[in-house]
C-alpha cells in the first residue's frame, strides 16, 4: 500500500499555495482601462526599437501588392481573412484590442495548465479502457497505477469545465453577439457554436468521462474481492462503450475548447492532433509514476519488461504525434489559403522558438533517447525522455491556446508559472492520495498471472 510521502505532500501543498497566489496576482494585475494599456504600449515602444528591424511583414506585403498590381491589397486581405486575434474584428481600436488580450492572459495561462493535467488523467483513462477492451495480457499489473492517475480526472475536469464556461469572450469570439451579427461565417456556424449547446456539450463530456471512471474503478476494486469474472465482464463492456463515446467527445471537445478560439479556422486533423498530445503525455506519466512506485519497492510484480513496453508506447506515440503535426502543417503550408495559413503564420512569427523547439523536444529527443531497445528498460533513461516529452507537450498545449487568445501579447511570467505550479501540486496531491487507497496489486484479474509472468 502506497502512502504519499509527507515531504512530497508538503511540497505539493507549497506548490498549490504559491501557484494560487500567483494566479490571483495574475488576475489582479491585468490592465483595467485603455489608459493603462496606453502606458504599457508606450513602455514597450521604448524597448522595441531593434525588434522591428527583423520584422518581415512589410517585405511580404509589398511583394504581394506588386504581384497583384494593387496598392494595399495584402493589407486589405489580411484585414478580412485574419484570425490572428480573437477579437480582431470587434475591437474598435488597437488599444482596446491589446487591452482585451492582456486581460485574457491569466485566463489562458490557467487554462493551459489546467487542461494539460486534466488531459493526462483523461488520456490515462483511455489507455486503461483500451487495456480492458483489448483484453491485454501484459498490462493488468499496472491497473492500480492507472486508476490512481485517473483519480485526478474529477477535480481536473471540473476546473476545466468551469474555466471554459466562464472564460466567455476571452477565449471564444463567437460568443460575442455583435461580432456574429456582422460575420456571415460565424452566422453559418451558429447552429453548433452557440453558448447553450456549448455548455450542454461540455456537461456531457464531464459526466460521461467521470461516470466511466467511477464505474470502472468500482468494478475493478470489486473484482479483487470476487470469485468469478462478472465485474471484469462489466468493465469490458463499459470500456468498449466508453471508447466509442470518448472518440466522439474528444473530437468535439477539441473543436469546442481549442479550435473555436479562432472560429474561422479549421483543420480536419485537429481532433486527432489533440488526442495524440494527450495520449503520449498520459503514457509518459504512467511510466513516471511506475518508476516512482517501483523505486519505493511497492511494485515488485512489475518488471523491466513492463517498463520496456511503456517506453515503446512513448516512442511510438511521439512519432505518431509528429506524423499528425507534420500532416497538418504541410497541407496548410502547401495550400497557403489565407484563412487556414494564419494559424501557422502567427505561431511561426511570434512563437518561433517554442514552435520549432517543441518539435525537437517531442520528436528528435524521444526518438534518439528511446530508440535503443536496452535503453527502454533503464529507468533513468525513460525519465529523461519523459521530461522532454512532458515539457514538449506542455508547450504544445501552450501553443494551442496562447496564439489564438492573446496573440503576440504573450509571455512566460508569473501567471503561466503560477498556474503550472498550482496544477502540478494539485495533481501530485490527488494522484498520491488516489494511489494510496488500496493495494497496488490487482488481485483476481483474469489476466493478472499472464501479466506478472509477462515476457515478450
Amino acid at each position: 500500500m502506497y502512502t504519499l510521502p509527507s515531504k512530497l505532500k508538503l511540497f505539493s501543498i507549497v506548490l498549490m499555495v504559491l501557484g494560487l497566489a500567483g494566479i490571483i496576482f495574475g488576475f489582479m494585475t491585468t490592465p483595467k482601462t485603455i489608459d493603462d494599456v496606453k502606458k504599457i504600449l508606450a513602455e514597450q515602444e521604448a524597448h522595441h526599437g531593434e525588434n522591428h528591424a527583423v520584422d518581415h511583414k512589410e517585405d511580404t506585403a509589398n511583394f504581394i501588392d506588386i504581384a497583384r498590381g494593387e496598392e494595399g491589397y495584402s493589407g486589405a486581405a489580411m484585414e478580412h481573412a485574419t484570425d490572428l486575434s480573437a477579437e480582431g474584428h470587434g475591437a474598435s481600436s488597437h488599444e482596446e484590442h491589446v487591452l482585451h488580450q492582456l486581460q485574457t492572459r491569466p485566463w489562458s495561462a490557467t487554462f493551459v495548465a489546467a487542461f494539460f493535467f486534466m488531459m493526462i488523467a483523461l488520456g490515462v483513462l483511455v489507455f486503461y479502457a483500451i487495456q480492458f477492451a483489448s483484453q491485454a495480457g501484459w498490462s493488468p499489473v499496472l491497473y492500480r497505477v492507472m486508476e490512481g492517475i485517473t483519480s485526478y480526472l474529477l477535480p481536473g475536469s471540473i476546473i476545466v469545465f468551469v474555466l471554459v464556461i466562464f472564460a466567455g469572450e476571452h477565449f471564444y469570439p463567437w460568443q460575442n453577439a455583435d461580432l456574429v451579427a456582422e460575420d456571415k461565417i460565424l452566422q453559418g456556424k451558429s447552429g453548433y457554436l452557440n453558448f447553450p449547446f456549448f455548455v450542454i456539450r461540455a456537461a456531457i463530456y464531464l459526466l460521461g468521462w467521470n461516470i466511466y471512471r467511477y464505474y470502472s474503478r468500482k468494478n475493478s476494486l470489486a473484482q479483487a474481492e470476487a470469485n468469478n469474472f462478472d465485474h471484469y465482464r462489466k468493465n469490458f463492456k463499459a470500456s468498449v462503450f466508453f471508447l466509442i463515446f470518448f472518440l466522439l467527445t474528444e473530437a468535439t471537445m477539441a473543436w469546442d475548447w481549442f479550435m473555436s478560439m479562432t472560429p474561422h479556422w479549421y483543420s480536419t486533423l485537429f481532433a486527432w492532433y489533440v488526442f495524440a498530445t494527450m495520449f503520449v503525455s498520459s503514457i509518459t506519466v504512467i511510466a513516471l509514476v511506475t518508476i516512482h512506485l517501483k523505486s519505493k519497492g511497492l511494485l515488485s510484480f512489475v518488471s523491466d519488461r513492463h517498463l520496456h513496453d511503456l517506453a515503446k508506447y512513448m516512442f511510438a506515440f511521439s512519432i505518431f504525434w509528429t506524423y499528425l503535426w507534420f500532416s497538418q502543417f504541410m497541407l496548410i503550408w502547401y495550400s497557403n489559403i489565407p484563412e487556414e495559413v494564419t494559424y501557422f503564420i502567427i505561431r511561426i512569427q511570434e512563437y518561433q522558438g517554442l514552435f520549432f523547439g517543441m518539435l525537437i523536444l517531442n520528436f528528435v529527443f524521444p526518438m534518439l533517447v528511446l530508440m535503443n531497445s536496452d535503453f527502454k528498460k533503464v529507468p533513468w533513461f525513460v525519465v529523461i525522455a519523459a521530461v522532454f516529452i512532458l515539457v514538449g507537450h506542455y508547450i504544445d498545449v501552450f501553443l494551442l491556446v496562447m496564439p489564438s487568445t492573446v496573440g503576440h501579447n504573450w509571455g512566460f511570467g508569473i501567471p503561466e508559472i503560477a498556474a503550472l505550479l498550482f496544477f502540478a501540486g494539485l495533481f501530485i496531491l490527488v494522484v498520491g492520495n488516489g494511489l494510496g487507497k488500496v493495494s497496488l496489486r490487482p488481485k483476481n484479474d483474469p489476466f493478472i498471472k499472464e501479466s506478472e509472468n509477462y515476457h515478450f
Partner: protein, 178 residues
C-alpha cells in the same frame, strides 16, 4: 568423428521455450533450433549474443536519409528548380517541408530492404542454396530442437527431453562433420 544428435520435436512455441530453459538448466548443449516462425524471447532463452542487425538498420536509414537529401537538393534546387504551388525553390531549407515525405520514404526503404538483405547474407540464405532443414514439418507447425549427445547417456537424455514435453524424439548419427 560421428557427432550424435537428438532431434526433439515440439508442437507449441511456449512449450519449446520452457523446454529450452530446462535443457539449458540441465547443462545439455542445444546446437540448433528450427521453428516455422520467429519465437519471441527464444534468442534470449538460448543465450545468443544480441543481434547487431538493428545497428545496421539504423546506419542504412541514415544512408537513405542522406541519399534523399542529396537527391532532392540536386533535382529540385540545383539542376531543375520547378515552381510547384508557388513554393520557394531557391534554397533547400525553404522548400524542405515538401521533401520530408521523400526523406521519410527513402529512410524506411533503405533501412528495410538493406536490413533484410543483410539478414539473408548473415544467415547464408542466398539464391539456390539448399535448405538445411532436417524435417519439413518445421516449416509448418512443428518446432525442432537439436541437442548434442556428446558424452551423455542417450537413454537419460531422451527421457529428459521426453519429460520436457517433446512429442517425438529421434537419434541422428551424422556421418560428415560440419
Amino acid at each position: 568423428m560421428a557427432a550424435k544428435k537428438i532431434h526433439a520435436i515440439y508442437t507449441d512455441d511456449d512449450l519449446l521455450l520452457q523446454a529450452v530453459n530446462q535443457t539449458r538448466a540441465a547443462k545439455y548443449h542445444i546446437s540448433e533450433i528450427f521453428t516455422p516462425f520467429p519465437v519471441h524471447g527464444l534468442d534470449h532463452a538460448l543465450g545468443l549474443a544480441p543481434t547487431r542487425l538493428a545497428i545496421t538498420s539504423f546506419l542504412y536509414g541514415l544512408c537513405g536519409l542522406t541519399v534523399a537529401v542529396l537527391m532532392m537538393n540536386y533535382m529540385m534546387i540545383q539542376d531543375w528548380p520547378q515552381n510547384i504551388g508557388g513554393k520557394p525553390s531557391f534554397t533547400f531549407y525553404q522548400n524542405m517541408p515538401t521533401f520530408i515525405p521523400i526523406m521519410f520514404e527513402l529512410t524506411v526503404f533503405f533501412a528495410g530492404h538493406l536490413m533484410v538483405i543483410t539478414f539473408y547474407m548473415r544467415s547464408k540464405l542466398w539464391p539456390f542454396r539448399k535448405a538445411e532443414n532436417p524435417d519439413p514439418r518445421t516449416t509448418d507447425a512443428h518446432f525442432l530442437m537439436e541437442v548434442d549427445v556428446d558424452n551423455h547417456d542417450v537413454e537419460t537424455l531422451s527421457k529428459f527431453l521426453y519429460d520436457t514435453g517433446a512429442s517425438e524424439i529421434s537419434l541422428i548419427e551424422n556421418e560428415q562433420d560440419h
